[in-house]
């Protein structure tokens, strides 16, 4: 072959091979199909009530017809602008949503209830439910999402798949599965056997005996003023009854003896155990697991990176200093109170005492 031709072919071939991977790049550069900034949500969808606020806006147009249904004691059906069916219930005894007389207990419409209602057992709601009045669920109801303008009470073994928000009290009887976000502007009460992920309310009572737990701030006048921090590179035990005036950071395991009082915050890289009746004015942080004994009071956030168990009688936060309890898995004994948020990324569960 002619050497000049061979050189040209070689150059063309090499150039083509070099250009091939650049072709998609050049096309993307030219067309800018993915040139928008990453979607950093400026309005903070992490707010627990985000979806309930959105749903309230979504059904705003139905509120007037809903009032008309209530006034007329009638039921009305129709379609939302996005094509979803809706069902407006204006009569307390109206169970039309049970598939309008068919023998199945599935409801595929967005449901808005205009007055106080008590649901029958075993109904599955595939779409959101809005309750303008008191809402009492039956046993084994399944909700996609639920917004109540007053109190919500779920029957035994009910399920919420995405979120529920009550302007009043939210209460779930035994063995409910509460996935996603559960919030109340006033109070959440879960009975034992309930599973949950994220709870938020000014007052969260877990289990039957929780109401006996006192608000920690009524008993303390001490404002946390920790003086410096104590760094420990191995396991540490804070003796029962000790008063610790500093922040404490330990690389090893940490045990806080019964009745001890910590004016600062506590962090351990490994397992943390907290004895009965301990008071912590700051936060409790474990990079591993955490076990909090009975009758403790913790003012600040309680965080465990791998799992947490809290025994009965313990109170986290107070009405004046709400807080967050968070771990991938949380096991809370019957009789624990949290003021603020409980967030179990994987699963939380209220277990019977003992």
């Amino acid at each position: 072959m002619n050497p000049a031709l061979a050189t040209v072919i070689l150059i063309l071939l090499a150039g083509t091979l070099f250009a091939i991977p650049l072709l998609p790049a050049l096309i993307e550069l030219r067309l800018k199909r993915d040139a928008q900034p990453l979607n950093v949500i400026q309005q903070y969808a992490g707010e627990i009530r985000h979806f309930s606020y959105g749903f309230r806006s979504y059904i705003a147009a139905l509120l007037e017809p809903l009032q008309e249904c209530v006034a007329a004691g009638a039921t009305s059906e129709g379609f939302m602008p996005d094509g979803d069916e809706y069902l407006l219930l204006g009569c307390a005894n109206d169970t039309a949503f049970v598939s309008t007389g068919e023998k199945t207990a599935n409801c595929r419409s967005v449901v808005a209830v205009g007055m106080d209602v008590v649901l029958p057992d075993g109904i599955t709601f595939a779409k959101e439910v809005y309750a303008a009045g008191e809402f009492t669920g039956g046993e084994k109801n399944v909700f996609r999402a639920l917004l109540g303008e007053k109190n919500i009470r779920l029957g035994r073994a009910s399920t919420v798949n995405r979120w529920a928000h009550a302007v009043g009290t939210f209460r779930a009887e035994h063995d409910c599965d509460l996935y996603g976000r559960i919030s109340s502007d006033r109070e959440i009460r879960l009975e034992s056997g309930c599973a949950f992920q994220r709870l938020n309310a000014p007052y969260i009572a877990l289990g039957h005996s929780a109401s006996e737990v006192s608000d920690g701030t009524t008993e303390t006048v001490q404002t946390p003023v920790p003086g410096g921090r104590r760094l420990v590179d191995e396991d540490l035990e804070i003796q029962a009854g000790d008063i610790v005036t500093t922040n404490v950071v330990t690389r090893g395991r940490l045990h806080i003896g019964a009745g001890a009082r910590v004016l600062g915050s506590v962090k351990s890289d490994q397992q943390m155990t907290v004895g009965a009746g301990v008071r912590v004015e700051g936060s409790l942080i474990s990079a591993s697991t955490m076990h909090i004994g009975p009758d403790c009071w913790i003012r600040g956030p309680v965080i465990a990176e791998h799992g947490m168990a809290i025994e009965t009688g313990t109170c986290c936060g107070s009405s004046r200093t709400p807080t967050t309890v968070s771990a991938p898995t949380i096991e809370i004994a019957d009789g624990v109170v949290v003021f603020g948020t409980v967030w179990a990324r994987t699963e939380g569960r209220v277990v019977p005492q003992g």
């Binding site: 991977p21 650049l22 998609p24 790049a25 096309i27 993307e28 550069l29 800018k32 199909r33 993915d34 040139a35 928008q36 900034p37 990453l38 950093v40 949500i41 400026q42 309005q43 903070y44 992490g46 707010e47 627990i48 938020n200 920790p226 410096g228 921090r229 760094l231 590179d233 922040n247 404490v248 950071v249 600062g264 915050s265 506590v266 962090k267 700051g282 936060s283 942080i285 990079a287 003012r299 600040g300 956030p301 965080i303 990176e305 936060g317 004046r320 200093t321 709400p322 807080t323 967050t324 968070s326 603020g340 948020t341 967030w343 990324r345």
Partner: protein
């Protein structure tokens, strides 16, 4: 020459392995976000410092955004640090102060040493809170960002916090698109992997926070440093404080739109990083302090990142020289160097990292620009080398370090 080449090959291989480790950890490892769920708390008082030097194009945006965040207003004070601005920055800040008299307290600085660290140091006279957040003026924080950045300070071990930086002006040109990919890899993979592996997440000096008592313990801001953020990271580490990274605390920034500005920026970063390497490298590795072995190693590698650019160049030159000298036993080494240098330019490790970041961000098309990153890499390696040479020759040439502000491109409001 042979042993120098060997040493460079080993170093490049270490960095390549590090990139792989981080990427695989992000894709398959346990992800740590321990503080992100703290959404209810007795939130502490916080001071938010907004560093502003001739920022008339952008400062109104950040002040507006900060007035809209969901942090309790009575517990938050915004302090715009107007550092010797000669444009309309002062007037804009004063206008906001009139509108929000109890929420914004300006710090106007007419003289003094140049640089962000020096300005922040002077502004500390207005800071009375234990938690301080820092933003550059071109950032636009979202509604929930302040709570997210304050939350880690409930951990008594945390001295510094860093959020994720997300470019806003992505679509402007090739450079901004490449910087978007680089940032994505750097934060989504690199920083979060360091957080996961309990290594040394780097304080970025913006979208960031620092604990006042920790800052005082380490002697405050170092106004001799060109990168006060890197300097802060390592002084905190040496004093037994952790810096944590919050990948979900995202904030928009403006990236450079011209290569000239980008080169200036990366040269300043390189000089500042090398300053920190010289100042803290050996102390970090061998000193008596609380850092773990893995923190010592990762911290040292982090400090050495910018020193690798000239070393890679030297490696290439050595390999070529040895090849043309016909040193037969070196053929294997040359092959090895070629492979590792190829990997170090991004075709393997760094590119893998960025591709993984794009996947984690659920972006699809922009990853097609990956081959163009070679261009960005080339510019960086020569700019960083130039910075290193100028830094090394400074004692002879008498050149003074000075702080170059990054130019803004946003339209004036």
């Amino acid at each position: 020459m042979l042993y120098s080449l060997f040493a460079i090959v080993v170093l490049i291989s270490v960095y390549t392995a590090r990139h792989y480790l981080f990427t695989l950890n992000r894709l398959f490892g346990f992800q740590r976000h321990p503080y992100i769920d703290i959404d209810t708390a007795d939130w502490p008082q916080v001071t938010i410092l907004v560093a502003a030097h001739n920022e008339e194009k952008v400062v109104a945006h950040i002040l507006t955004a900060l007035m809209s965040v969901n942090y309790p207003t009575e517990r938050m004070l915004v302090v715009p640090v107007n550092d010797r601005s000669t444009d309309g920055t002062r007037e804009i800040i004063d206008r906001f102060c009139e509108e929000y008299p109890n929420r914004i307290r300006p710090f106007h600085r007419a003289g003094g040493k140049g640089g962000k660290a020096a300005a922040l140091k002077d502004a500390m006279e207005l800071v009375e809170t234990e938690v301080i957040l820092i933003f550059d003026a071109d950032y636009i924080p979202g509604t929930g960002l302040i709570k997210q950045l304050v939350a880690p300070f409930f951990d008594p071990e945390v001295g510094g916090v860093m959020g994720r930086v997300v470019p806003l002006n992505v679509g402007t040109n090739l450079l901004t698109r490449l910087l978007d990919l680089e940032r994505s890899g750097g934060y989504q993979v690199d920083q979060q992997a360091r957080m996961n592996l309990r290594l040394v997440p780097q304080h970025g000096g913006t979208v960031a926070g620092v604990r006042l008592s920790a800052l005082r313990e380490i002697g405050g801001w170092n106004d001799n440093s060109l990168t006060e953020d890197t300097d802060l990271t390592f002084r905190l580490l040496l004093a037994g404080w952790k810096t944590v990274y919050q990948n979900r605390s995202e904030c928009y920034e403006e990236v450079p739109e011209t290569w000239q500005v980008r080169i200036k920026q990366i040269m300043r970063w390189a000089k500042g990083h090398n300053q920190a390497l010289a100042g803290y490298g050996l102390k970090l590795l061998f000193g008596k302090h609380r850092a773990t072995l893995r923190e010592r190693i990762d911290g040292f590698l982090l400090l050495g990142v910018y020193a690798m650019a000239p070393l890679t160049l030297v490696g290439w030159i050595l390999a070529l020289a040895l090849f043309y000298e016909g040193v037969a036993p070196l053929h294997g080494v040359i092959a090895l160097l070629s492979f590792t240098a190829y990997a170090a330019t991004g075709n393997f490790a760094a590119f893998f990292e960025i591709a993984a970041a794009a996947r984690l961000d659920y972006t699809r098309q922009r990853i097609r620009l990956l081959p163009f990153l070679v261009l960005g890499f080339g510019v960086s390696i020569f700019s960083v080398t130039r910075a290193c040479i100028s830094q090394l020759s400074a004692p002879v040439t008498g050149a003074q370090f000075h702080w170059d502000k990054t130019e803004r491109f946003r339209a004036t409001p």
